[in-house]
């Protein structure tokens, strides 16, 4: 056995626990899901294989394309906002002003709080009658009637996005803050020496150098956002009038809510395919973008 062979064996050995674990806990259920997607599995303990019927049903259901488009729009805005707010946050928290440490700590709570609780708190805020936002708007005379955010299609759509952004922002901020700090100081000094002001430095130096980290983070948030379930489920259950029904909500409703496991599994498989395709495209784009940018 040559050295490189033994090295490969060793590496595989190191990977064994992780691989076995993931195979057992994720891959096997995933396989199970794929199998189920070709059956009429439901509550009844037995089921039959029914070929592509589930898939046919999904795509003939009519609203499925609508759901897909909505999912992409929802995901896009959520990720974009996370990145924008996270970048702003990171830049602000990186500013050398007194209180920096405290501010950094104060960004963490949304990340740390059990997700359900955070969502309940937002539910409160969105309440038209008793919630803070509508309440304060009324108190300050900016509105004379209650504003129930979750009542209308478009406000509910944005309200769920804002909540998702809120939960995702701390992680993005902290990660980008770390990225910011690894930009060599002398680049700023050089730019300053050349007369570049703060904004110019940010635009021409900071931002481009953060791109790789931003791409990584956006991919990670993309995956998380695509699968964001709890937020919509707790706030609106996909309503009103389906205006917040994303693929995962749709799937959950079919599989768990209606106990049509087979069809739910088929929907899950479709989601997975979409996400994978998207990630592949995205990865390609990222690789193209970040070519030669890394020092």
């Amino acid at each position: 056995m040559t050295r490189s062979q033994s090295a490969t064996l060793f590496a595989l050995g190191l990977l064994l626990p992780a691989t076995l674990y993931i195979l057992a806990i994720v891959a096997y259920p995933l396989f199970d899901t794929i199998v189920l997607s070709f059956t009429n599995a439901a509550l009844r303990p037995t089921y039959d294989f029914i070929g592509w019927e589930n898939y046919e049903r999904i795509f003939s259901a009519g609203n499925f394309t609508e759901v897909i488009i909505r999912t992409f729009v929802w995901t896009f805005f959520s990720v974009a906002l996370k990145m924008i707010i996270g970048t702003c946050g990171a830049v602000l928290l990186n500013a050398a002003v007194p209180g920096q440490t405290v501010f950094r700590i104060l960004t963490m709570p949304p990340w740390v709080v059990p997700m359900a609780i955070g969502i309940f708190m937002w539910g409160w805020m969105y309440n038209g009658q008793f919630g803070m936002i509508s309440g304060l708007l009324q108190n300050f005379g900016l509105r004379d009637s209650p504003l129930p955010f979750l009542a209308y299609g478009n406000t509910a759509f944005w309200a769920t996005i804002v909540t998702d952004v809120w939960i995702g922002v701390p992680m993005v901020t902290i990660y980008l803050l770390a990225a910011l700090q690894s930009i060599p100081k002398d680049l700023y000094e050089a730019a300053w020496t050349d007369g570049a002001g703060r904004w110019y430095r940010f635009r021409r130096v900071t931002l481009p150098l953060m791109v790789p980290a931003m791409l990584t983070m956006s991919l990670l948030s993309l995956i998380a956002t695509f699968n964001s379930f709890d937020i919509i489920w707790i706030l609106t259950q996909g309503g009103p009038s389906g205006s917040t029904t994303t693929m995962i909500i749709d799937t959950y409703r079919t599989a768990i809510g209606s106990f049509r496991y087979g069809e739910g599994a088929a929907r899950a498989v479709v989601i997975c395919i979409f996400v994978s395709l998207f990630c592949i495209v995205y990865f390609r784009a990222v690789r193209q973008l970040s070519k030669g940018q890394i020092r």
């Binding site: 060599p184 002398d186 680049l187 000094e189 050089a190 730019a191 300053w192 020496t193 050349d194 007369g195 570049a196 110019y200 021409r204 130096v205 481009p208 150098l209 791109v211 030669g292 940018q293 890394i294 020092r295």
Partner: protein, 359 residues
């Protein structure tokens, strides 16, 4: 000639520690000044204060007669080349060089013209569309210089710009920099801890130690007439040999020095106060001869290095730490075999007990 830069009693403290302890310096228009000194002596700090990157704790910085203490770098008319080059990894060479012009919002045609001119001077014309990551060390350095040139600053500041390069490239770049200086005629201030760079490039060298100026002068002035033991040891490679002794007598422009086992030596110095003091003799390795000279001593080389061009002998000599002799070509010395070497009294440096040169 006009004074390009004047430092008056510059001081700098970081959190109670005084790093620069009152520096005065006057730099003439077009001069090439080199700061040298051991690591941590404050060279970079001083340079950064001139650049305006670091605040001055007290004292004044004047550029062309105007006090610039409070001005940001760009308003001081300086340009700085960083040790790490600080190139923007995401921009092409062109954009890197054009950066200061973009800041000024010059029209594209003007930018093109100036960048092309700079690129030509620096032989970067072929590289303008590459990114810094794909350049060699020397090319990177030239880009960094290019970025400084396009601004047409009054003063160039360099912080160890060659220290990241390998020896061959370093000497090549050294020559290029000197030619550039000649061509542009601008004032340049250059930090290094490399002997050869300091000696070859400087009009004047500023030797710093612990935040203070030890001596300012032309390279040969420092080589031949070091003010004190620190400068003497610092300038010249291999290092000057020091031999401890005691001045037994000093009168009539003659001092007599007892070198213990090595015997005594008489030097022509007019320094009556020296009598009875501990003194140090300094003699450069290259001033040691195998021929008959004013003063000779016998050494046993314990290591001989043959460099072809010259040969270096290491030996233990009483009263001296490491004793080094350097001879041209290949003398017939052998390790372990004592030989007699000598030197001329004219080549000897004498330092009093406080380390000051006695001339």
């Amino acid at each position: 000639m006009a004074s390009a830069l004047t430092l008056s009693n510059i001081r700098k403290s970081f959190a109670n520690a005084e790093i620069i302890k009152g520096v005065d310096l006057d730099v003439t228009q077009g001069e090439f000044i080199v700061f040298v000194g051991p690591s941590g002596c404050g060279k970079s700090t001083l340079l950064r204060m001139i650049a305006g990157l670091e605040e001055v704790t007290s004292g004044d910085i004047n550029i062309e007669g105007n006090r610039v203490n409070e001005l940001p770098p760009v308003k001081r008319g300086i340009a700085m080349v960083f040790q790490s080059y600080a190139l923007y990894p995401h921009m092409t060479v062109f954009e890197n060089i054009a950066f200061p012009l973009r800041v000024e919002k010059l029209p594209q045609a003007e930018v093109d013209k100036r960048v092309d001119a700079a690129a030509k001077v620096l032989q970067l014309d072929q590289r303008l569309q590459q990114r810094p990551g794909t350049l060699s060390g020397g090319q990177r350095q030239r880009v960094a210089i290019g970025r400084a040139i396009v601004r047409e600053p009054k003063i160039f500041l360099f912080d160890e710009p060659l220290s990241n390069l390998d020896a061959a490239l370093r000497s090549e770049m050294r020559v290029e920099l000197m030619e550039l200086h000649k061509r542009l005629g601008s004032t340049m201030i250059y930090v290094t801890h490399d002997q050869i760079e300091a000696m070859t490039m400087a009009d004047r060298i500023v030797v710093l130690s612990l935040g203070e100026i030890e001596q300012v002068g032309s390279p040969l002035e420092l080589y031949h007439h070091p003010d004190n033991i620190f400068v003497a040891g610092f300038i010249g490679s291999p290092k000057m040999n020091f031999i401890k002794g005691r001045c037994t007598q000093s009168a009539n422009g003659q001092v007599e020095i007892d070198l213990g086992e090595l015997g005594t030596m008489a030097l022509e110095r007019n320094a009556p106060r020296l009598a009875g003091e501990e003194v140090t003799l300094g003699i450069r390795p290259e001033h040691l001869k195998l021929e008959q000279s004013n003063f000779s001593l016998s050494i046993t080389p314990n290591l001989i290095e043959h460099l072809g061009i010259h040969t270096i002998l290491y030996a233990d000599v009483p009263g001296s730490e490491a004793f080094i002799a350097l001879f041209e070509g290949e003398p017939g010395a052998e390790e372990g075999t004592p030989i007699s070497i000598g030197f001329n009294k004219a080549d000897v440096h004498l330092f009093d007990s406080s380390g000051q040169a006695v001339r």
